[in-house]
């Protein structure tokens, strides 16, 4: 009998407890599949955030460490510098990465820390019950912006890939969405490239995933996916923002042309 689909051994047997239609489960699976395909499950440490994915350490089949809210990149730095042979990923939500942990995010990127960040942008604070996040888009209702986010009061959403792309140390930055199979396949490609960036010692990599949170968006999973298409992708365009390999190639060609 030919096996056409098998659960990756990058995941444990523990059933995930995310809400129906949540993007975290999909993102975990993509990370797990990439670990397995690259054969690094046994030398990966997942730095797990404070947020809905705080239980990630139970789901992924590698070493794990759960730290303080927003400090994933600092924790990852400590591990990577102490045991450089380890593949270190920091999995973070938008409140975690772009609000309380913004300094750690920017500085780990600027140091070109040889780590990989998986950034789940669901434009909301999931775990604490749907408060406004730094990535909440204008007009979006949350429990702390009940009339919808307004720039005059709450400022503008922060596009992290664009923000980090000006840093010399940001070696690989890409944004994908978890709304449909084609985008999810693309997301996995990006995650794989981010892992490879680290494995080759090329420095800081981050993949941002636009991710549905039906529960705190007060939507059905179907409508949540629609919101990603209609509202999020226009504000957070998909694609690769930095790619060390393309940049190295372009430099070489430039040299050759001179």
């Amino acid at each position: 009998m030919k096996i056409v689909f098998e659960k990756t051994n990058g995941l444990t047997e523990v059933p995930m407890r995310y809400c129906p239609g949540c993007g975290h489960g999909v993102a975990h699976r993509l990370v797990a599949e990439v670990m397995e395909e690259l054969g690094v499950t046994k030398r990966t440490v997942a730095v797990v955030p404070v947020g809905c994915s705080v239980f990630m350490d139970e789901y992924v089949n590698c070493d794990g460490i759960q730290g303080a809210h927003g400090r994933g990149p600092a924790i990852a730095t400590g591990i990577k510098r102490s045991k450089p042979e380890t593949v270190v990923i920091s999995y973070q939500g938008d409140g975690d990465l772009a609000s309380i942990g913004m300094a750690e995010t920017i500085h780990s990127a600027s140091r070109s820390e040889n780590i990989t960040i998986i950034f789940i942008n669901n434009a909301i604070y999931g775990m604490t019950g749907g408060q406004m996040a730094p990535t909440t888009i204008l007009g979006m209702r949350t429990t702390t912006s009940p009339a919808g986010r307004r720039a005059e009061i709450n400022g503008f959403p922060i596009p992290m890939c664009e923000l980090l792309s000006s840093l010399e140390g940001a070696s690989y930055l890409a944004r994908a969405a978890l709304d449909k199979p084609a985008h999810i396949i693309r997301a996995k490609k990006y995650i794989k490239k981010a892992f490879e960036t680290q494995i080759k010692g090329k420095g800081f990599s981050m993949v941002e995933l636009l991710s549905p949170c039906p529960t705190d968006w007060g939507m059905t999973p179907k409508d949540a996916v629609e919101r990603i298409r209609q509202e999020m992708i226009p504000r957070y365009p998909l694609g690769v923002f930095r790619d060390w390999e393309a940049e190295e190639k372009a430099k070489k060609e430039e040299k050759a042309a001179v």
């Binding site: 924790i75 990577k80 750690e104």
Partner: protein
């Protein structure tokens, strides 16, 4: 290694940590401890270790959290405001049973305060400091030699019991120069077996491991806290250290810790020269506190004088040890005020009616 070298307190602290096996340091500049990260920045690479100047104290302590999880000996240092910022991370280390070592070279507070020596972070150091039920093993050196030798003891205790450990110093100890004698041979950390809780590296021969401080299952966190409390009980039973002089016949006991104990020692000398029976008890570990030493002395002495460079923090542990059995007097100078031996001796004479 009886050879003595002249060193500044902060540098002795850094060198002592390196010789005790420290191979990772993360810190952020703040006076009066800047010599520690400066020293580590060139010294650690010599030993194959790693120094990083973090973007903040918050990042520094979390880098420590990560580095400590791999099982190596790590260190950070700061002064009062920076140690306040590190408290959340220290609590996470305590909660995840990670052995870490750090030093607070205390300055005047609260707030930005000043950069003068002070002892006003005693509560923060000895009561845990961050959120949750935990303690930190706290040593209080009073000389540059002790700054150099105590890191080794801090690491040994931290790894034996899997708890945070620290040195509570002050600007005097950090900045002064004295001859230093190391009382231990440099430790080679590569000779240590990897702890069975360490994460990272090649995990192919073992089960996967997780370092964390949370457990949401009903009752489990309580069990975990109770198990940790047993380790603290053992620390209280086995790791107490203190020093004293003139204790056999003293009627008045002066008690101080850290640099302040050296000033009190001069006051004791003045009293003894005048024939007054005055002694000194100096706790070397602040947690665990040498309660029993105080209780034994409380049976004999007529008065206790607590001298500290704060408005009264250390005194509470003395009160808790003595439990009202002897009158306790207090002389405290906060926010950079340094008591003189003469002013202490004046108070001694008043208490003794001489």
């Amino acid at each position: 290694m009886a050879e003595k070298t002249l060193m500044k307190g902060n540098e002795a602290l850094a060198e002592g940590a390196v010789r005790a096996g420290c191979r990772f340091f993360a810190g952020y500049p703040i006076t009066p401890q800047n010599e520690v990260p400066e020293y580590m920045s060139w010294r650690l690479p010599q030993e194959g270790g790693f120094f990083i100047q973090a973007e903040s104290e918050v990042a520094a302590i979390n880098m420590l959290f990560g580095a400590a999880s791999t099982g190596i000996r790590v260190m950070t240092s700061s002064s009062s405001p920076g140690i306040s910022l590190k408290q959340e991370g220290i609590s996470y280390c305590a909660g995840a049973d990670l052995p870490i070592f750090y030093a607070n070279v205390v300055r005047g507070g609260p707030g930005l305060g000043n950069i003068a020596p002070a002892q006003s972070d005693y509560f923060q150091a000895t009561r845990g400091g961050g959120h949750g039920d935990y303690r930190v093993f706290v040593m209080a050196p009073n000389s540059v030699s002790e700054m150099a030798n105590f890191p080794k003891r801090c690491y040994d205790v931290a790894f034996k019991y899997r708890v945070p450990s620290m040195i509570l110093a002050d600007g005097i100890l950090g900045q002064m120069m004295e001859p230093v004698e190391f009382d231990f041979e440099p430790v080679d950390p590569s000779s240590f077996p990897e702890p069975d809780w360490a994460i990272g590296g090649d995990a192919s021969g073992r089960e996967r491991r997780v370092v964390k401080s949370y457990d949401l299952r009903p009752g489990r966190l309580e069990e975990w806290n109770k198990e940790r409390a047993k380790r603290f009980e053992r620390i209280e039973a086995e790791e107490v250290d203190w020093d004293g002089e003139g204790l056999d016949d003293c009627e008045l006991l002066i008690t101080s810790y850290g640099s302040c104990s050296r000033i009190s020692k001069s006051a004791v000398k003045m009293a003894r020269e005048d024939g007054l029976p005055v002694g000194l008890l100096r706790p070397i570990t602040l947690y665990p506190f040498p309660k029993k030493a105080y209780q034994d002395l409380a049976k004999r002495v007529k008065n206790i004088l607590v001298v500290e460079m704060s408005l009264g923090q250390f005194i509470e542990d003395v009160q808790l040890s003595v439990l009202g059995k002897v009158p306790i007097h207090f002389h405290g100078r906060p926010a950079g005020g340094i008591p003189t031996a003469e002013e202490i001796y004046d108070i001694v004479r008043k208490i003794m009616g001489k």
